[in-house]
Amino acid sequence: MEKQRQVPVEFANVSLSYGATRVLHDVSVTIEPGEFFALLGPSGSGKSTLLRLLAGFLQPDTGTIRVAGADITRVSPWDRDIGMVFQNYALWPHMTVAQNVAFGLVERKLPRAEIETRVAAALELVGLKEFGARRPGQLSGGQQQRVALARTIAIEPKVLLLDEPLSNLDAKLRVHMRTELFELQRKLGITTIFVTHDQEEALSISDRVAVLDGGVIQQVGSPMELYDNPANRFIANFVGTINLLRGTLERDGERGVFRSPVLGEVPLGRTAAPAGSAEIAVRPHTLKLVAPDAPDEPGRSWVAGTVAEREFLGEFVRYTLRVGNAELVADQPHFIGERGFAPGVAVKVGVNPAQVKIL
């Protein structure tokens, strides 16, 4: 299969309600040509609805959807040329694998010989060359998904949509398919939008991610941007694990000082944030735990706490700490031979000001 012409997708002020229930509210986002773009959000956030709007199974109340610059808002699903891989794969059990893959080509009334070539090429691309004569029911979950993928890319759509593509696979296969999807997308170069509720999935393979909640786009950015600069509490909480702390920000020239009952005084370095009440976010792995009698390492602010719980996760140990009357989560890397801190033990927590994000 050839590299395809890459097109942009644009949602402009798209809103949709079911009666009084607001599903999407004034969503505007542009997906760049050839981009691998993730729609991330909890269930009910409107991410699948956005995908279905693009596929044409729903129509927005207001707003415009453009593909390659053309308004397709009112175009019928069958005239859109936007390929969608369904969450449950939606393979037709009454057709063979080859008939499934050929479906879209038959609908396009292509000559038989070309259909055969393209079906073979699509099946080969997903590594199922030998499976054309089988029925979907005779395939494993992973194979079924490949068939669904082959069926969609056989029509060489302008845009590829993947609805929760990995949710029906077991954990091992999921990681494997994730890489395969990524490689396939790079190979075809097709603008791809995929929906997921799994932040790890979204962060690991996409160029950019839009995070949705309550029918509103909360933030759009590269995975690293989302992780490092969460725009609000929701993003901070949803992407990765994080400690959120309320307090007040005081300014000392260009520098800021965060004061809270839990952490006491933490000098933050340069910041543009205004003084006043503020909330900061600290990732668990940036915190450092030491014994209470250890000397203070320079460059960190130190505060005393107690280990409330610990979870051994292999690469690291996740501690839940009681600091004052608040809880902090701290991840410490684990090495062979280390025992770590037992629950009930007093510790000192070191905060690195450079890793503190003011929301």
């Binding site: 129509q59 699903p77 009454h94 879209g104 396009r108 029911g137």
Partner: protein, 566 residues
């Protein structure tokens, strides 16, 4: 599903609505209207008053209620132990019981009624033997007893099947949690199992009540005329289409049907929780103790003997030279079959033709209505479902009276023939009456199919109509075929509307022929032969369609992923 309402959707919905309106709503309303107006068109209750002034009508009224109620009672007595055995115990009779379930569908009571008289009647086999051995006889087939007896052993499977389904749908965890909380034995049955299975029982019982109340053929064949359905038929055919008493009877029949359906709907309401949960495993099945085994098998053998009696009886009758005042026929012959093939190949053909067309109409309408309900937002789509299903409550006699009145004098387009004397009206009556069954079947088939299967087709470039033809209908094929077969089978042996709407013998289907033969003693043999043929056609049809559905399912393999709830 798309939120847009398109013109084709509206046009199809309107066409179906028009069909149902013309051939179901208007005729039924006409019957009700005529029952309540006087000669000048004003409202009156005088027809009802005169109904109750005629002693025969009062008697018929109570007789119909009595027969329907007692039929339910006896059907219950037969069915409940059988249902309990299948659902609760591991034993081999289960398959046998399942088979019993389809018997009433393939042979309606009126066909076997004469045979039952020869076996259980005053001078039938059983009583002859009883008299010889013990010197007494049982009045099993006398008058109303005969109707009750025949109806109960024909229709008990409706209770049996509904009850078995209800029992099987009870999650074993429901029973186990009751056991866990300390309930066991009869208490467990009374407080958990029975209440959860109740909706199934009521649904079956209501169906039996309606069937018996509506049945015209059985009382007529057994020469019992003092019941409502036969009276309606006799009034209209002898006094004439103007006689208001026939319409009053029609109103009563509709009311009793509605009350029975309403009662079962009322009990079913809010009982969703009885159905199985995820990972369900049905009620725990126990082994039979020896004594339970003796009782269970004894009961099954007894029921089986009764249930098979009309079938064997009709077979013997069709082969008997003479069978009168004797335990078994005196001598066998194939002469009756020869007679039937000589006299009435036309009837066999008519049955195939009428029921084929009617069942075809039913699955087309059923598929279309199912699609409109589940996959579109066309306004009033639920009313289509409601009206089509309401046909269940309309007795065949009433529908036929409504047709005769509504369409009297109307001519078929492009001919001089009257619509009321055309076989087309019979086909329409069949299709309207069997539509609820076909519709349920189509609805279930479409419900099982995830909407993404259809969306995927559209996504790949198939327009709506193409997606329906290439994906939706093929995937519904099993359900559509099942609906076709059910409609066809039940229409093939329907008599109520047939008796009233057949005007010329060369237009008559087999069911009419059976009835006609059975009217004379000399015709019993050929009548029985025709009955056996009808049953054979229906049975072969059922068997073939089962095979076909099984093969398709095997081909598809079960496709677990496509059915995941999203």
């Amino acid at each position: 599903m798309s939120t847009r309402i398109t013109w084709p959707q509206v046009a199809i919905a309107a066409a179906i609505g028009l069909f149902l309106f013309a051939f179901l709503v208007v005729p039924v309303l006409t019957v009700i209207y005529v029952a309540f107006v006087d000669g000048t068109g004003g409202f009156t209750l005088s027809h009802f008053v005169s109904f109750f002034h005629i002693s025969l009508m009062r008697e018929s009224f109570w007789n119909s209620l009595y027969v329907a109620t007692l039929s339910v009672v006896f059907a219950t007595i037969i069915a409940v132990p059988l249902a309990y055995f299948t659902a609760r115990f591991q034993f081999r009779g289960a398959l046998l019981i399942q088979t019993l379930g389809i018997l009433p569908l393939i042979m309606p009571p009126f066909v076997g009624a004469i045979a039952m008289q020869l076996i259980f009647g005053r001078s039938g086999s059983v009583n002859l033997l009883l008299n010889d051995w013990f010197g007494f006889t049982l009045p099993i087939m006398d008058g109303l007893n005969g109707v009750i007896f025949v109806e109960a052993i024909h229709y008990f499977p409706f209770i049996l099947m509904n009850l078995v389904v209800a029992l099987n749908n009870i999650d074993s965890s429901m029973e186990e949690s009751a056991l866990n909380l300390g309930a066991s034995g009869m208490r467990l049955f009374r407080r958990i199992v029975f209440p959860l299975a109740m909706p199934g029982y009521i649904a079956g019982a209501a169906l039996v009540f309606i069937k018996v109340f509506d049945d015209l053929g059985t009382p007529l064949v057994l020469n019992v005329t003092n019941m409502l359905a036969p009276q309606a038929y006799l009034r209209i055919t002898s006094v004439g289409i103007e006689d208001p008493i026939g319409y009053v009877i029609g109103v009563f029949m509709i009311v009793f049907s509605l009350v029975a359906l309403w009662a079962s709907a009322l009990v079913l309401k809010g009982r969703e929780y009885a159905t199985m949960q995820r990972g369900y495993s049905g009620l725990a099945k126990r082994r039979l103790t020896p004594w339970q085994g003796v009782f269970a098998y004894g009961w099954i053998v007894l029921v089986l003997a009764l249930v098979l009696a009309p079938h064997l009886g009709i077979l013997m009758l069709s082969l008997a030279k003479v069978w009168s005042f004797s335990v078994l026929p005196e001598g066998f012959t194939l002469q009756h079959y020869a007679t039937v093939f000589q006299d009435s190949p036309r009837m066999i053909w008519n049955t195939l033709l009428y029921c084929g067309i009617a069942a075809g109409i039913d699955v087309v309408l059923g598929t279309a209505i199912a699609y409109l309900i589940l996959r579109t937002r066309v306004p009033a789509r639920l009313s289509l479902d409601f009206i089509a299903t309401a046909a269940l409550a309309i007795p065949g006699v009433v529908l036929a009276i409504g047709y005769l009145r509504t369409f009297r004098g109307m001519e078929l387009p492009f001919t001089d023939d009257l619509l009321t004397s055309s076989w087309l009206l019979l086909v329409v009556a069949y299709s309207i009456r069997r539509l609820p069954y076909a519709l349920r079947s189509c609805l279930a088939a479409l419900q099982q199919m995830h909407v993404s299967l259809e969306e995927a087709a559209e996504n790949l470039g198939a327009r709506k109509s193409r997606a329906i033809v290439r994906v939706v209908v093929p995937l519904m094929a099993g359900g559509i075929l099942a609906g076709f077969v059910t409609s066809f089978m039940t229409a093939a042996v329907e008599l109520s509307a047939t008796l009233m709407l057949v005007t010329a013998q060369h237009d008559a289907p087999m069911s009419y022929g059976i009835y006609l033969y059975m009217q004379s003693a000399a015709g019993r043999g050929p009548g029985a032969a025709l009955g056996v043929l009808a049953v054979a056609i229906v049975a072969i049809g059922t068997y073939l369609s089962h095979r076909l559905i099984e093969r398709r399912e095997a081909e598809k393999q079960s496709q677990p992923l496509a059915r995941i709830e999203v």
